[in-house]
Amino acid sequence: MNTPLRLIGLTTIAAILAACGGAAAPAPTAAPAASTEKQPAQPAAASGACTISFGAAVSFTGSTAAEGKYTKDGYDIAKDKINEKGGIKVGDKMCKLDIKYYDDASSPDQTAQLVEKLITEDKVNFILGPYGSSSSDTAAAIVEKYKIPMIEANGAAESIFARGFKFTFAVLSPAGNYLRGILDLVKVKDPSAKKVAVVAETDKFALEVAAGAAKYAKEQGFEVVYNDKYPAKATDISSNLTVIKGLNPDVILGAGHIQDAILTIKQGKELGVNAKAWGFSVGPTAPEFRKSLGKDADYVLGAAQWTEELKLKGDANDPFSTPQDFAKAVRAKFPQGGYETTIPYQVAESAAAVFAFQRAIEKAGSLDAQKVRDAIAALDFDSFYGKVKFDERGINTFKPMAVQQNATDGGNYTVGPAESASKPFEYPAPAWGSRK
């Protein structure tokens, strides 16, 4: 064909592809919000007083898209609850909340860029954290540079807090504590179970979980027979599993993302690797785990920052009071959200981050970044999510981890800590060949 025609054709295709590529990147912003400034924008806001704008770069696409959705839902339900009650009290004004979202596509570099954009271009007051430790890590550096407080709810790696940053806080329990609950349960149920295999994804968060688990296991008298890793986003871990199989562990603990947990179970079954207890840091508590594995998900334990069955009670100022109330509200607000059987803890902890900001802002009586930051550091309250209090690094070491199990009846129950268990812990997991 002749050159001008080809040129037109190519340009058209390029334009279409660019449009589609561009359309994929920015996430849907919070529904009523179009404004990127602090002034009131929508006529719908009856108060007409002020708007506190939060910015959040969350993964709506990419490898952690599922968890990113839970994070956003958590932020949104808290925002709506606060706005329902009139907003946040800043001095003598009631200010509504607004959250501006961007999709960081599960890329920590993008997170940093987008957080910078939120601060410098969109001029948000505060930052709500992204999903994941790697992204929280890059975001922490940015908020420190601009001295804008960030409370994140989904980055548990302690390395984020090892740099002396003052403007980042995490409401969730640190990575090293994740798998403790599982080991505690096994130790009580079966003192003869001694051998533990730990396998981790090469990822900042997963490696910390594994290190914390191995250390705790040794402290509790277990023998750590295997402690190794596989490349990030691996699609085949048969090598690791082949080695593990030869060591006959009683407990297999995995640290990684939900894809890794699913892969470990699938390949574990294929290769005939058996253990009395399988536990993962991330994955088994999410609905897709069961949906992806069916009956193969039975017996698998998951570390949970929070579950809806915990016997917790928030203080008088807590908007939801108990985990059960929160769960009911989530189901009512997101009927198609896949929350019928389980509420992933990312939803709860993300909501908790927003409420923590509320308390800090109200205590500070202003939107001044430094004042709010100091107020956050001094927080200490009980909520539907558990105790929220930050250690000198900024991480919430005061809240214990819960354990959930995918039960043989298809449900997902809280089996630990023992005093909050709603169902007994099913143990041991039978060998693959003898299950039905």
């Binding site: 589609c20 190794d228 048969s238 090598s239 699938k266």
Partner: protein, 294 residues
């Protein structure tokens, strides 16, 4: 490593090789014959996975029984993609083809995201994790099926390309486009057919990996990389070479993985670079000639 572990690792490698070969087959054919490096190949594989998933969860069609359906759907998609998109740049330099297939990959990935959303999915049938246990060594059956399918496809394609008229026509376009035209080969439908066959194979690969791993809309990139690795290692323009390439990469991965699992990807790529320095055409590929290499 004791003897059982050695045997198991060997099995793991051969089985993985079967999967990797199936993943790479379509990619290699399109590159060798059409000189198009299809960066969207992984996205087509993932599309195959999603179609299999939908057939299974919504219509209850078993993935193996639904395989022909998935393959035909992907064939149609690939044929249309080549005929109406890629064909515009088929005579352009390699870079243009890179860009367009990259764009198609992104487009496809985002379309998948729109339709199926971002949740992690996997196809788990009652027999998904089944394996044959022989003396302490487990042979996963679904992956064994992938290996069998891979070998079957290699044989079928090799015969098709060398013994049939259409196949010869396809190969001739890869050898010398103008000479092919002179002998009456209609290039446009041939190219569309070739690409369609390639995506059909991608669909088959997607179908099988949907059962052995989990997937998300963006899972394609890794498969494209592996397809690239296997094709380059095995050598282009040679269908059985894909099997060899797949096996070798897989065996390296599992044996290195046994001792230093975090390094297996690194070692595979380093070895690839070394091989290319010593033998640029891959193990079994035709040596580059000065005339038509792009």
């Amino acid at each position: 490593m004791n003897s059982i572990q050695f045997a198991q690792t060997l099995v793991n490698g051969i089985i993985l090789g079967g999967v990797l070969s199936l993943v790479a087959l379509g990619f290699s054919i399109v590159w060798g014959i059409m000189h198009v490096v299809n960066l969207a190949h992984g996205a087509f594989i993932v599309l195959g996975s999603y179609i299999t998933y939908t057939l299974y969860t919504s219509l209850g069609i078993d993935p193996f029984l639904g395989l022909p359906l998935t393959m035909i759907t992907l064939f149609v998609v690939g044929y249309a993609t080549e005929r109406w998109i890629i064909h515009w740049v088929i005579r352009a330099p390699l870079m243009a083809k890179f860009f367009i297939t990259f764009g198609i990959g992104m487009l496809l990935e985002n379309l998948i995201l729109q339709v199926w959303k971002a949740d992690v999915r996997s196809v788990t049938t009652p027999y998904s994790g089944a394996s044959l246990a022989i003396g302490g060594v487990n042979i996963p059956l679904v992956k064994l099926a992938a290996l069998a399918l891979s070998i079957l496809m290699v044989i079928v394609f090799h015969l098709f390309l060398t013994r049939t008229r259409q196949g010869n026509a396809i190969r001739s376009t890869g050898m010398d486009l103008d000479a092919a035209r002179l002998t009456g080969v209609k290039v446009a439908p041939i190219y569309a057919l070739t690409f369609g066959l390639s995506t059909m194979l991608a669909g088959a690969a997607g179908s099988l990996v949907s059962m052995t791993t989990s997937f998300t809309p963006d899972a394609g990139a890794r498969y494209t990389v592996y397809a690239f690795l296997v094709s380059v290692l095995g050598g282009l323009g040679n269908v059985p070479a894909v099997l060899a390439g797949g096996m070798i990469i897989a065996l390296i991965q599992v044996f290195v993985g046994f001792y230093a699992p975090a390094l297996k990807d690194a070692v595979s790529f380093v070895l690839l670079v070394v091989l290319l320095l010593l033998r640029p055409q891959g193990l079994f590929g035709k040596p580059f000639t000065s005339g038509k290499a792009e």
